[in-house]
Symmetry: C2
């Protein structure tokens, strides 16, 4: 098949990356997408860098064997720790979620402005976003806040409940009125709490959705290389390393995604 007709591979440690899948599906309806969720080894955030790199390379090899034309690493931990290693072994372009999020935040924050990075404890402790903001030579002040309850709130399906707003106020209330120009949703689960978070932060703060930003960058990358699929309705395929029924159930309940049959690939 022609290169442009090959699928895009997406992987995450679990189901959080489905927000990236959803953004890609909506932005690139003609593309075939293969999503891999490493549900047997989730979460990555508490694993050693060596382990995360080894897992990521295994999954990249699996997706590359499916002849993908682009690989999107839809996992903050893997994007932070394993991107260079994957690029070294990948014949196709590899995108993460951190650089696109940083780019979008810098578009919203003026020189001397303030960017608040939110994420899991592991992501915040890794300082991946802060380092990327610094590496971009950005003259912004970076603040960070770990929000460990957000993932279980999303997975409980509680995003619309008052308790979600109460938790968001607890974490982010102290940052309201402190001149935050952009807040980065530095965890793939967090876009599901975007409205709640925006309400706490107020209208001054632009909420940067890394999933949206990554999807937009993927489209630009394919355009630039002349690899946009000329077809019509792209297909979607889902593969996990454990518990396909739970994955399918949560995909539907949390994101309204009908996965169809989810296959299992164990490592």
């Amino acid at each position: 098949m022609g290169d442009a007709r090959r699928p895009i591979g997406i992987f995450d440690s679990g189901l959080g990356g489905l927000t990236v899948y959803k953004a890609l599906r909506s932005l690139l309806p003609a593309e075939d997408l293969i999503y891999f969720g490493d549900t047997a080894r989730v979460p990555y955030g508490t694993k050693s860098p060596e382990a995360v790199i080894a897992f990521s390379k295994e999954i990249a090899a699996f997706l590359l064997a499916r002849r993908i034309k682009l690989l999107v690493v839809a996992c903050n931990t893997a994007s932070s720790l394993a991107l260079e290693e994957i690029r070294r072994v990948s014949p196709v372009p590899v995108l993460g979620v951190i650089a696109p999020g940083v780019e979008a935040a810098l578009a919203a924050a003026p020189r001397g402005g303030r960017v608040l990075v939110t994420g899991t404890t592991a992501t915040v402790n890794s300082r991946a976003y802060s380092r990327a903001l610094e590496a971009a030579g950005a003259r912004v002040r970076v603040l960070e806040k770990a929000c460990p309850l957000f993932v279980p709130i999303v997975e409980e399906g509680w995003c619309g409940k008052p308790v979600a707003a109460a938790v968001a106020r607890e974490y982010l209330g102290p940052f309201r009125g402190r001149g935050i120009d952009a807040l980065i949703l530095g965890c793939t689960h967090y876009p599901l709490l975007k409205k709640v978070i925006a309400r706490v932060m107020g209208p001054r703060t632009r909420i940067v959705d890394s999933a949206q930003a990554a999807a937009a960058q993927a489209r630009r990358e394919l355009e630039r290389r002349g690899l946009l699929n000329p077809g019509r309705a792209g297909r979607s395929e889902f593969v996990v390393s454990d518990a396909p029924e739970r994955f399918s159930l949560l995909a539907r309940r949390l994101l309204g995604i009908k996965t169809g049959k989810v296959s299992v690939k164990r490592f």
Copy 2:
């Protein structure tokens, strides 16, 4: 040294078992206690039974080499999956947290009464408490409710905040007024939310603290065997498999326990 002067060993997958440590320390002030937290491999709830059994046996061997006189498995997952295997290799008595919790619940629930088991998703899915209640020949109706947000709420130090009450109402409000005689706190973190949970359930429901129940059983066991330490002020020692500073910090912040120097034993 005489057998009665030997220490008691306690282990958990992380720091939750410190509620059991604290109950033992208060009930048995003359005893020397050695606590091991497997912080490198926490959480156990998502691991395979084979892995949990292997980890538990490694830790038991480590504590047995310290010449303990009693081993308390202060971890619901390990109590559920590994107790028999540990007993097979242990020359000293081994207590878990499930049987004492079940016993205390049955003391509070009349025949035909209702027992609500709370715990992590893994513990509830394992049905360890339900099976133990059934095995005890108990004529009670067992209900179960996984409360995955309780552990991160405890670890954030939010037990006294309104958001803790809101989450407890979300999980347990539907059970209020449904004739629950006893609610088992089936996770070692949950005793820190005991008051909040009791307020949601109302005065009819007895809140069963497995940590307290396990400590009481440990005392009975030592009494029965004539192994109570005749000394005065027992010492405490803490060992973890990773991140001793974080362990020490959380022990103080969450439970008011001053650990002193925490040593590290890697497997």
